[in-house]
Every structure is written in structure tokens, then in C-alpha cells.
Amino acid sequence: MTEQTPKMSARDVSVFYGDKQAVKNVSIDIDMDKVTAFIGPSGCGKSTFLRSFNRMNDTVAGARVEGLVTLDGEDIYAPSMDVVQLRARVGMVFQKPNPFPKSIFENVAYGPRIHGLAASRSELEGIVESALRRAGLWDEVKDRLSDSGTALSGGQQQRLCIARAIAVDPEVILMDEPASALDPIATAKIEELIGELRGRYAIVIVTHNMQQAARVSQRTAFFHLGTLVEYGETDAMFTAPRMERTKDYITGRYG
């Protein structure tokens, strides 16, 4: 593996909810041109850890993050870090599609508007179109951009949310089980989309589905009870896991 500086990295990160520690001293590097998958049994802290990369844990009352998280080497928990800017650079897609109760166009235009990315209406339209194209949704919705985003199917809603995240041109996209609420066909579309987005954005995807991790990711991190058990190349991990616990999980002995 060539030594490149990681896009994001976590060093000794612990996350607490009140007195309860949900993530324990996790260190990890996220590379720019790879898809990184977080796997592990439910409740092991994958979502919590993921949310420490865009400081969404700040919005949870009683949540506290310790350790160092950097983006391009910069500490994102430093007082000088602007959370608004951080979240524009590190986008997020949630488990359950959560389009705003606005039109399809307004959903995608939301980020560019609040960050002032478009100087004119036509520029905004251009941004919306290219985001929808990259999310593979343009052909399906181009004739009904003014329809409500909530009227789309679940899979379309999730791709709309991806388009919404892409529209502000982030560097990293965090996805928390983006396909777990979708049917197999919609899931396949999302996985295909992740493949297309790879390279342009650093992508981190949480999934409880190991086949999905194997299909979409190049690196996989296995979590158990708040700790990082094993982290490495996806292929290696699924064929020859180094740790006993990883092997047990992958072969379905628990989880």
C-alpha cells in the first residue's frame, strides 16, 4: 500500500452517551479514492462512530466525543473549526430516506442555497441537474422537478438524498445503512451508484449486510461492542480474517 495522507483519520476516538461509552478508543484512516465499510452487529457503535466524522453527535444531548478526528490533517473538533463548513465538506446520507417536504428541485437546491453556491437561477439549475444526474435520478424526475420529494418511491427518495448531499460538492460522503430500508432492486441501484461515485468522493458506508460490504467496499472495518476489532482490505478480510471474532461474525456464528 502506497503511503498517501488519509482524507480523514480518527485517533483514539471514544464517544460517550452520558456515562455510557458507545465507542472505545478507535483509530482509523479513511482514504480518498476508496469506499470504506463499517460492519458489525447492531448496537456496536457503527452509527455513533460514523457521526463523529461530521460532528452530528453534537446534536445529541449528552453525547461527548474524545480523541482526535482530522479532515485533511485538520482537527475537526478544534474551536476554530466551523461546523457549517465541515458539514458542507463531509456530507451524510441517513438510514431512512429523509427528503424535506419540499419539491424535488428544492430538496437538491437546499444545500447550494444555504451555502450560497449559485450566483444565479440558471447556475442553481445547473447544479441541481448535475447532482441529480450523478445520483442517477435525473431521467426519472426531470419532468416533475416541482413534485414533492416525499411523493417518490423509497429508493428514489434515497437517491434524492444522495443528490442533495452531492449538490454541495462535498469531499467525503458518510452513509449510514443507506439501503437497509429499501427493496433488493433499489438496493442494487444504490450499490451501483456508490461504485460510480467512488474516486470522486471518499465514501464511508455503514452496513450490517456483509455481502453488501464485500460488493461495494475496498476496505472494511469490523466493530464489536464499541471497539474496532479488525481493519483492512475487504478482499483479505473476507477470505482470510486475522481475528477469531471477525471470522465468527463473517461466517455467521453470531451477530
Binding site: A88, F94, N98, C161
Partner: protein, 458 residues
Amino acid sequence: MSALALIFVVAGLGLIGWLTARARAASFELGGAKRLHSLPGQHGWYVAIWTVLPALLFIAVWSGMTPRLVQDAVLQHPAAAQLPAFDFERDALLAEAKRVARDRSATAFDPVAEQLVAPTRAAISYYGWIGAGVSVLLAFACGALAFTRIKARFKARTRVERGVMSLLLLASLIAILTTLGIFLSLLWESLRFFGQVPITDFLLGTHWSPQVIDANDPGKSLGAVPLFWGTFFIGAVIAMIVAIPFGLMSAIYLTQYAAPGVRRWMKPILEILAGVPTVVYGYFAALTVAPAVRDLAVMLGMPFASSESALAAGLVMGVMIIPFVSSIADDSIAAVPTAMRDGSLAMGATRSETIRKVLIPAALPGVVAGILLAVSRAIGETMIVVMAASGAANITLNPLESATTVTKQIVDLLTGDAEFDSPKTLAAFALGLTLFVITLILNIVALRVVKKYREAYE
């Protein structure tokens, strides 16, 4: 026999029915079946219900009829010929006779009434005994009939269940029927009014002065437009200018910014405010706000400004409505899924951007419905305007001038000397009916909006 004693007797019969039926059911042969369909107690209840219920119904109907019957009987008496023909005095004498007839220690002032005491007493006791006899008989007959029906296989349990259900249904119908009754009586009186005053004069006329009514053309001075304007201006414009921003902002603070500790005591306090008797707000309006508003008007160059301005009443009404708007807005904002808020925050939106661009638009239908309900409350509010608004019916856009409202006029029309079939008095019912219909429509619209909104997030 008094109605209370009668009820006790019937209840006693019911108890006897319950005991005997239970005892009898307990002695049933099982006859091959593993157990009785119903427990002995349920047979007891079946008989008890049949004993008590028809008799009670009869007592209720009969006590409603007796006064009428007694009066008719008394009027048959020769002494009744001396009664004055005029309704009002006649009723007063009959009432006096009745009072003395019931209360032996009292004496009548009027000689005619004195003469009527004995026949009244006789009639009361006569009809009282008839009622007692029939109800006891009814209780006995129905109870006995029910008793003959209970057998080992009789499904008393199911029957009792049905009886309980009917009772509950009856209870819930009473509220609805009462409302319906109120509405019908309003409608009835209003129809009498519209028999004397053309409805178009009332609804479209712009001149309101019920003190001077031209008997040949009463509609000329009973045009309600100034009242509806005043109601709308005070309740829907001025009050809402106060209540909407403050209510909304307090809801936003409570749902989005307040620490849980603050919210825990602040929300109940707001809700308690909603329960303060409106007369208290009325004092505040009349004694504190109204003079201040008048001083302001004088300062602004209206030397003869009224102290009964639309502004004073509207401001205080708005304050009264704040908790109401706040509580409904609070519920609507809290009902917006957290995922929506998180989605916006994760895009890099600030808290206030998220509130303005996502939460409020998403909660808007609920908020609008809440505002409609608040308006409907404000325009029906009476005490504040009675105490602080003026009686002068003006159509004005100047909040410093006086304006009156529908509710205030209803109170004015019905207090003091009132003849119950003059257009002036009947106008109060027409006003009440119109207000009733308007608030009803507002409430229906609001409930529909809320329902649609709830469905959107299910």
C-alpha cells in the same frame, strides 16, 4: 312522595331483584352442561337492570310533566278565575302558591295565591302518588318479567353487556344532544328574528343602533356589519398580530433551544396561563392597558381618544391567546420527524436556518390549524370585550378608535330590561347563531387541515 324517596324505593326493588335472581340462578341444575352460560351475579344484574331502568326512565319523564299537569289542575279551580290575565303576573302568583304548597312554614303574601295553595298542594300530592304508583308497578312488572326469563341456558351475561353499552352510549349522546338543543333553540329564536327583520338588512346593513329602533323598519338600525368588522378587527387582526409571533417564537424556543430543564417548568406554566379566567384578563385590559392606550392616542394627537379602543381589547386578547398558539405550534413542530432536522443540519445548515427553512414549513399546516382555532376562540371571547371594548359600533381601520364586537353586543342586548319578542332582543340570538356558524366552520376547517397533516407523516 318525593322523587328522591321514589328513586330509593325503586333502587330497593332493584336490590331485591338482584338478590332473588342471583339466588335462583345459583340453584339452577347444570343439566349435563359443564357450567352455566352466565354467572349467578350476571343473572342478578339482568333482573336488577330490568327492574330499575324502565322505572327510572318513567320517573324522569313524569317529573318533567308534573309541573304542567299541576298547573293545569290548579287553573281548573274556581279561585283561579281571579288570576290576572297578564302572563307575567299570573306566573308569579302560581309560583308563589307552589312555593307555599311545598314549604309549610311559608306564608303567601297575595290573597289569590293564598287561596290557590290548597288546590296546588292537592294536585302535587295527587300526581306525586300517581307517579309513585306507576313507577313501583313498572319496576315490579318489568323485574318479574325478567325474572321469569332467567333459566340455566339464559345468556344473561350477553344481555347485561348490551345494557352496559347502551348506558355508555346514552351518556355520550347527552353532550351531543345538548349541543343540538342549544343550536335548535338559537335557530328557532333567530328565525323569529328574521321574521321581523329581513336577513339581508341584518347581514349587509352597516348601521347598528339597537337603542333606537324604528318599529316600521327595524332592519334599518340592526345592520350587523359593524359588529362583524369589530369582531374580526379585534379578534382576528389585532389579537393575532400579538399572538402569532409571540406564540410561534415561544414554541420555537421551547422545542428547539430550551434546555430540557427549562422546558420542564416553562411549558406547564404556559399551559396554566391558558386556564386563567378571562375575567382576569378583562380587568387587566380595562384598568391597565386601556388607559395606557388612550394616553398614547392623546400623545399621537387624538385629544378626545376613547379609553375603549379596539387596540386595548385586541392586545389583551392576543396575550390571552399566546399560550394557545404556542402549545399547538409546539405540538406541530415536535411532530416533525427528527430525521428532517438532522437532514438539514447534516447539510451544514445552522439551527435557525433549519428552523426557518425546514421545520416551520413542515409544521405549517399544523400551525395554521392552530391559528384558526385560536381565531375561533378569540372571536367567541366575551369577558375581555365586555370589560374593555366599546359599545359603539364603528367600522374603522384605526386601532385607537373604539370598536365593538358581536359578543359584547349580545351581552348588552340581553341585560337590562328585555322584552323577549322585540327585534332588539331577538337580534341577540341571530348574532349568536351567526357567531356559532362562523366558529363551527373555522373549527371544521382546522380539524381537516390537522388530519391531512397527521397523515403526511404516518
